[in-house]
């Protein structure tokens, strides 16, 4: 059984196609993570502003992504937007956009949490040294916040990598879709293909995510003491 499965993988283009599918997955995750890391920091700073209005708006934005599942947002982006505005956007682009919006919200909350968890006397003693507002953030608050938020950020990245699996449901040809095409193709030759292919994809995802969550744990252990 395993033999025929391996044979299927290594005949023709199958393994290459699967890796190409994986590449799409990785590409989506990487772009989304990198961009939302930046936008998230900006959003996080915005959330620590004193203005009531800004606070409420930020909260609404955050809760929208907290409450409504990402898959729903993908559908809204994919079917809803197109049917209302009739614009042409690739599935992959939709996934990236939705992931960035989602990532910004979550990342922002992480940044806010990190900044607010800094003891007040840190900013007091910065001020007492005569640091200006900008200097206070640049030299004192942000460097400390970054350490506190790094583990959570990596966890968010892991979640985003995992969530790329939903892309298939709005027609993006990524690893899962390629896998399904292969299962369909091999239906006569390897009847147990779905076990092997889904198993393989399961493991591939694990291989992508495990090092990340390991790293997060490490940093957490290192910096909590």
């Amino acid at each position: 059984m395993l033999n025929s499965a391996l044979e299927m993988l290594f005949t023709s283009q199958n393994i290459v196609r699967l890796l190409e599918g994986l590449l799409v997955t990785v590409r989506i995750a990487l772009i989304a993570i990198l961009i939302s890391a930046c936008t998230g920091i900006a959003f996080g700073l915005l959330m620590t502003m004193k203005s009531k209005l800004i606070k409420v708006l930020c909260r609404l934005y955050l809760e929208a992504f907290r409450i409504i599942p990402v898959l729903v947002w993908l559908f809204i982006g994919y079917f809803g937007i197109t049917s209302v505005f009739a614009i042409h956007l690739e599935g992959e682009l939709i996934v990236i956009i939705v992931f960035i919006l989602w990532g910004t919200a979550e990342m922002g909350d992480i940044v806010r949490g990190a900044l607010e968890s800094l003891p007040r006397h840190q900013s007091d003693s910065g001020k007492a040294l005569g640091l200006s507002f900008g200097q206070l953030y640049r030299y004192v608050l942000i460097p400390q916040a970054v350490r506190r938020m790094l583990p959570a950020t990596i966890n968010l990245a892991t979640r985003m990598v995992k969530t790329t699996s939903l892309a298939v449901l709005i027609g993006v040809v990524e690893i899962l879709k390629v896998g399904q095409q292969m299962i369909e193709n091999a239906r006569f030759t390897v009847p147990t293909a779905s076990f092997w292919i889904y198993g393989l994809i399961f493991i591939l995802y694990f291989i992508m995510c495990y090092p990340l969550s390991r790293l997060a744990k490490r940093l957490e252990a290192k910096w909590s003491s």
């Binding site: 840190q122 910065g126 001020k127 007492a128 040294l129 005569g130 640091l131 200006s132 400390q144």
Partner: protein, 259 residues
């Protein structure tokens, strides 16, 4: 305005230049008054120790002097210049006022020397090498020259507080404020920090010190200011205050430390 009537102490403060003057300072937190009209004049070179029960407003007073808290009424003058009226450049003023807090407030992501250099180089834009000289000399004086490259977490509480003092001194402030800097330290460490402060006093630094260490207070103070529930109850020389307090509340307070 009326503090002269209750002021006392070994030296007459009238003869020296007044560095810091607090006039009828009034401060409240959300409607609850915490400082109810404080008057105090600090001549250059004087060491003032502020005593009083917990919650009487000692920390709040120091924080107001440094602009960390806005005040509702009154005025604060540093070298005759108001810190309240008109447009106040706090970043400028805070360079002249050094402050050390109860919690060890070193920045944990910087080494000792980086902590010390931050203010002088970034705020005062001074030459790094020149500040370095000064920092080394100060570290030497507090006995921590060899810990220059250590991280704050590698230091004991007493060492951290001594570094915090050096950090503030390195800005060349006119006046230093100390808020219970030894409150969470073990006795030996208390001693090493207080010794540094005694040294500063001897050198003529102007200081306002909030502390619960009565022995130290007696030894270091030029004048003792006793506060209770937001007002100054008594100002006296240390000898006089500890041996013969005038107010009933001060007597009660001192009783706590007697067995």
């Amino acid at each position: 305005m009326s503090n002269n009537s209750i002021s006392g102490g070994s030296m007459s403060s009238e003869q020296r230049e007044i560095l810091l003057a607090i006039k009828d300072l009034y401060k409240e937190y959300g409607g609850k008054p915490v400082l109810k009209g404080i008057d105090l004049q600090v001549p250059r070179g004087e060491v003032i120790v502020v005593l009083g029960p917990s919650g009487c407003g000692k920390s709040t007073l120091l924080r107001c002097l440094n602009g960390l808290e806005p005040i509702q009424k009154g005025d604060i003058l540093l070298s005759g210049q108001s810190l309240i009226r008109g447009k106040v450049d706090w970043e400028q003023i805070r360079q002249q006022i050094g402050m050390v807090f109860q919690n060890y407030d070193l920045f944990p992501h910087m080494t000792v020397i980086e902590n010390i250099l931050l203010g002088p180089t970034k705020v005062q834009n001074r030459e790094r090498s020149q500040v370095m000289e000064q920092a080394k000399a100060l570290l030497e004086r507090v006995g921590l020259f060899d810990r220059m490259d250590a991280w704050p977490r590698e230091l004991s509480g007493g060492q951290k507080q001594r570094i915090a003092i050096v950090r503030a001194l390195c800005m060349n402030p006119e006046i230093m404020l100390f808020d219970e800097v030894t409150a969470s330290l073990d006795p030996e460490m208390v001693r090493e920090v207080l010794d540094v402060m005694l040294g500063l006093a001897k050198q003529g630094m102007t200081m306002i010190i909030v502390t619960h260490e009565m022995g130290f207070a007696q030894a270091v103070a030029d004048r003792v200011v006793f506060m209770d529930s937001g007002t100054v109850c008594e100002i006296a020389g240390p000898q006089e205050f500890f041996n013969n307090p005038r107010t009933e509340r001060a007597k009660q307070f001192l009783n706590i430390f007697q067995y």
